[in-house]
């Protein structure tokens, strides 16, 4: 039977699915752009069908779910394996306790069917400016562990993004895990605007993490998605919020600075002007949410 093709058929490629990390790094060795590492594959398959990419070799990480999966808390750190799926993140009690903004974002990625197979590591390595996992992770001060044959290194989440759909990984390197400080006092919240509630790319997404004690914000971070070539830490907003008075007026000031930090473009989803306005409104909403939670008994 000949299958009807809506998009062009996927061109032939060589497929490898290493069963150990050493086998993986042997497979990756000596290859350049013709090789593509695949995690869940949901972004990659669409890009291949659209002919945006045409890798000659695909290396599927799927047999390394033991080595690169899992969600655990150890020594004050919440560690999420790169192959953890968004469904696993959405339903993890550890994530709910220490990184609730990430849980909220994970629950909004794509659809149930996408969340069931799409992974955190894949979302970061794909490096979309609208990657919904990134603002929560940046707000929470998370780091990414990259693994290669020669060892491992750790980067702040925002440094994994080099440009739109361009990651900062070196040849032969993979995302191994994401580490988030496991501090129960930190409140983290996330929200976004999109053309539909479900299965839509974010027009703007915002995450805020902070602690409130004795009427002041402690260490705080404001992070933005889809308003710059990469997800960003809103630096002016972050500096203004950290250590400041926890008031409604301050929420407004920080939100206005976040809108200044945003450097959006106009595209099919929204104009740059509208995106800046969204950043202000959504950031204010999130800070007020943190304030009201801190006052709850």
């Amino acid at each position: 039977m000949k299958s009807f093709q809506y998009l062009a058929p996927i061109p032939p490629f060589e497929y490898a699915a290493p069963r150990t990390l050493s086998e993986l790094f042997e497979t990756l060795d000596g290859h350049g752009k013709e090789l593509q590492v695949m995690a869940g594959g949901t972004d990659l398959l669409i890009a291949m069908k659209e002919r945006a990419v045409a890798p000659k070799i695909i290396v599927d990480l799927g047999r390394l779910r033991q080595e690169l999966g899992g969600i655990a808390v150890e020594g004050g750190v919440l560690r999420i394996g790169s192959l953890a799926t968004f469904s696993q993140i959405e339903s993890s009690p550890f994530v709910a306790r220490y990184a609730d903004a990430l849980r909220q974002a994970a629950a909004n990625v794509g659809t149930l069917q996408i969340r069931s197979i799409a992974t955190l590591g894949g979302n970061l390595a794909t490096a979309s400016p609208a990657a919904d996992s990134a603002p929560p992770l940046i707000a929470l001060g998370a780091t990414v562990t990259l693994l290669s044959r020669s060892g491992q290194r750790s980067l702040p989440v925002q440094s994994v993004f080099a440009g739109p759909k361009r990651n900062g990984l070196r040849a032969g390197e993979i995302v191994s895990s994401v580490e988030i400080p496991a501090n129960e006092e930190v409140r983290s919240v996330w929200t976004r605007s999109a053309v539909r509630n479900e299965n839509a790319l974010s027009t703007v997404s915002v995450a805020v993490a902070s602690t409130v004690r004795d009427g002041r914000f402690g260490q705080s971070r404001v992070a933005l998605g889809a308003v710059a070539p990469t997800p960003i830490l809103a630096e002016k907003a972050t500096r203004a919020m950290t250590g400041s008075e926890a008031t409604t007026a301050q929420a407004e000031r920080v939100a206005a600075l976040a809108a200044e930090d945003a450097k959006p473009i106009s595209d099919i989803r929204a104009s740059a002007h509208y995106r800046k306005r969204l950043v202000l409104v959504l950031t204010k909403r999130l800070i007020l949410q943190i304030l009201s939670e801190s006052m709850a008994p």
Binding site: K2, F13, I58, R63, L112, Q113, I114, S116
Partner: protein, 154 residues
């Protein structure tokens, strides 16, 4: 170059030598004859090709066939039979939840998963969970009714 895959399809072990550049959707429908698996959008938007992969619903058009090696795949054929249907399949008939039928196998796979794994889900939560299955005929209400009836009668 062909690759070897061994997996379980609707409870039966299957080993095959396959070309890797085909989606699970095309492989199941065209090669194994599992014709409940429908291709709608081919980009993971419509859900017509939904199958369970290790008991999680996935759009099989966004899975490469070799990714299922060592794993378990269930389609609506594997959920129940004509004489012993899954409660959700039975109630789809009872509640007239089918019109043209193209989205139905994928819809049943998703709703059977909600039936098993989210028995307490509210209407809003059911709608969120089934938002990856588009139906252009029914308006979804009969399908939600079918799920609720399945919960009630088991």
């Amino acid at each position: 170059m062909k690759v070897k895959v061994s997996f379980r399809l609707n409870g039966a072990s299957k080993t095959d030598e396959i070309e890797p550049n085909q989606t699970l959707c095309d492989y199941l429908h065209d090669v194994t004859g599992t014709t409940s698996v429908k291709k709608g959008c081919d980009t993971g938007e419509c859900g017509a090709c939904t199958v369970l992969l290790d008991d999680m619903p996935v759009t099989s058009c966004l899975v490469l066939a070799p990714q299922v090696d060592g794993r378990e795949v269930v389609t609506t054929e594997g959920l129940g039979t004509k004489s012993a249907p899954h409660p959700v399949q039975r109630e789809f008939v009872e509640k007239d939840a089918v019109q043209c039928g193209y989205c139905i196998p994928g819809m049943i796979v998703t709703l059977s998963w909600i039936f098993e794994h989210a028995p307490g889900a509210s209407d809003a939560e059911i709608k969120r969970l089934m938002s990856g299955n588009l139906c252009r005929c029914t308006g979804y209400l009969q399908q939600i009714e079918a799920l609720k009836a399945a919960r009630k009668r088991g």
